[in-house]
């Protein structure tokens, strides 16, 4: 009786167990005057989550097809604007109870005499729950399998000292057709001394001046990148269009006071849809 019951329990569907953490904000800006910041974590799950915070150095780059990825550098040299070694998190490790919040305080201690400018790091917040059995069992041989699920959220941290400026230069605007989409690529070269945080917009305008397709995407330009964007072309009539492309230094997901103002840049290119 008890053996039968045990086997039934092993075979029964497992309840959903949410493991993870909510991170806010998703970008941290710290000023040289205050040298401190915070990140708030929330455990939405039904079990306690063990969380750890670490800092690493990295910045977004684009691959050959224009996808963004994070390039991390384990030991950035002195030419890199790294703030990794200056950051302390309090607490660095913690256990967050189910549906509870935890504020992580960040203290930045830069070396004396650093030059005005912007310094970067990434905060990696790792959350792991209890071990979860992921499979059934071989009932005759007593084999059970399980997988521990971990989630990791990596967000940018920007440290600013003194006067910093940013800007953007757009070049090599080009398009290509891929399946049912118009793929747009452009080279974005950062100007000034700080990362450019902005929004890219594009509009495909027909001969009568009517917009027939658009895209909008937040963009972070730390070093030069060549990202891709896309506009769906399903249902578009064949013919010539004008692609209007612009980048503004505003982000709907970042507070206005955290973004650096820069002139809007625009470009356009004629596109033929067949």
């Amino acid at each position: 009786m008890s053996r039968t019951l045990t086997l039934m329990l092993l075979a029964a569907p497992l309840p959903a167990v949410a493991q993870g953490v909510l991170v806010a904000p998703h970008a941290v800006f710290i000023d040289h005057r205050t040298r401190s910041g915070w990140v708030q974590l929330y455990n939405p799950g039904s079990e306690a989550t063990e969380v750890s915070i670490e800092a690493l150095f990295g910045y977004p780059i684009t691959d050959s097809i224009g996808h963004l990825e994070l390039r991390t550098i384990e030991k950035p040299d002195s030419t890199m604007p790294s703030a990794v070694g200056w950051i302390q998190a309090f607490p660095r490790r913690t256990v967050i109870a189910p549906q509870a919040r935890q504020t992580i305080r960040l203290l930045v201690t830069p070396p004396a005499g650093i030059a005005d400018g912007e310094y970067w790091a990434r905060l990696a917040i790792t959350a792991k729950g209890s071990a979860v059995p992921v499979s059934g069992a071989d009932t005759s041989q007593g084999i059970t399998v399980g997988l521990n699920l971990e989630v990791r959220t990596i967000i940018p941290m920007v440290y600013r000292k003194g006067s910093v400026t940013t800007g953007l230069k757009v070049s090599s605007l080009r398009t290509s057709m891929e399946a049912d989409s118009l793929v747009i690529r452009a080279r974005l070269a950062r100007q000034g001394s700080a990362a450019y945080l902005g929004t890219v917009r594009g509009a495909l305008v027909d001969a009568t001046g009517v917009s027939r397709g658009t895209f909008e995407s937040p963009i972070s330009v730390y070093y030069d990148i060549d990202p891709r964007f896309a506009i769906g072309t399903t249902g578009l009539a064949s013919g010539r269009y004008l692609l209007r492309f612009s980048v503004t230094s505003e982000r709907s997901d970042i507070a206005v006071e955290q973004t650096l103002k820069a002139a809007t840049v625009r470009d356009s290119i004629e596109v033929r849809i067949r």
Binding site: A11, P13, H67, D138
Partner: protein
């Protein structure tokens, strides 16, 4: 008695405001292979609505993120025994939960970009194949799968 000191600047920090942009990634469901039979592979497709592993991601509308799954190729068991797990190209996809979003299959071993173009939630699903040997040693086999979300 030694007492840890708290930097003065920390004490001056203001309380965190409640409404700020946020991201989250949460493991919702484990990868469930069901009953294992020694010597016979068990496969779970990422589209399987019950057995596939699932994570949920939330982010502001318009946010572009990078997703990376770090998955093991074997589970570790008793006395150094291992149990192969095969998770290959096409065994994962990400999909927004808004109307019109389609699944975007990707290789779990590489990065994928995802844009929250029409909503604030997306799911990642993961499948795979497990092959217990005919003489697999009894016991518990475990390992860790990591889902990493990078905000640019």
């Amino acid at each position: 008695m030694h007492r840890a000191t708290i930097p003065a600047t920390l004490l001056s920090l203001i309380a965190a405001p409640a409404a700020v942009a946020q991201v989250s990634v949460t493991g919702i469901r484990d990868l469930a292979f069901g009953f294992l039979t020694l010597g016979i592979s068990s496969t779970v497709l990422p589209s399987d609505p019950v057995k596939s592993a699932q994570w949920r991601i939330t982010a502001p509308v318009g946010q572009r993120i990078q997703i990376r799954l770090t998955v093991p190729n074997q589970l570790l068991g008793p006395s150094g025994a291992t149990l192969p797990v095969s998770i290959n190209n096409g065994d994962a996809f990400v999909q927004g939960t808004w109307t019109g979003s389609v699944p975007n299959s990707f290789n779990p071993g590489s990065n994928v970009n995802f844009n929250f173009t029409g909503g604030t939630q997306a799911i990642i699903r993961l499948g795979g194949q497990i092959t217990p040997a005919a003489n697999q040693r009894p016991g518990t086999y475990t390992n860790t799968a990591v889902c990493t979300i990078t905000v640019f």
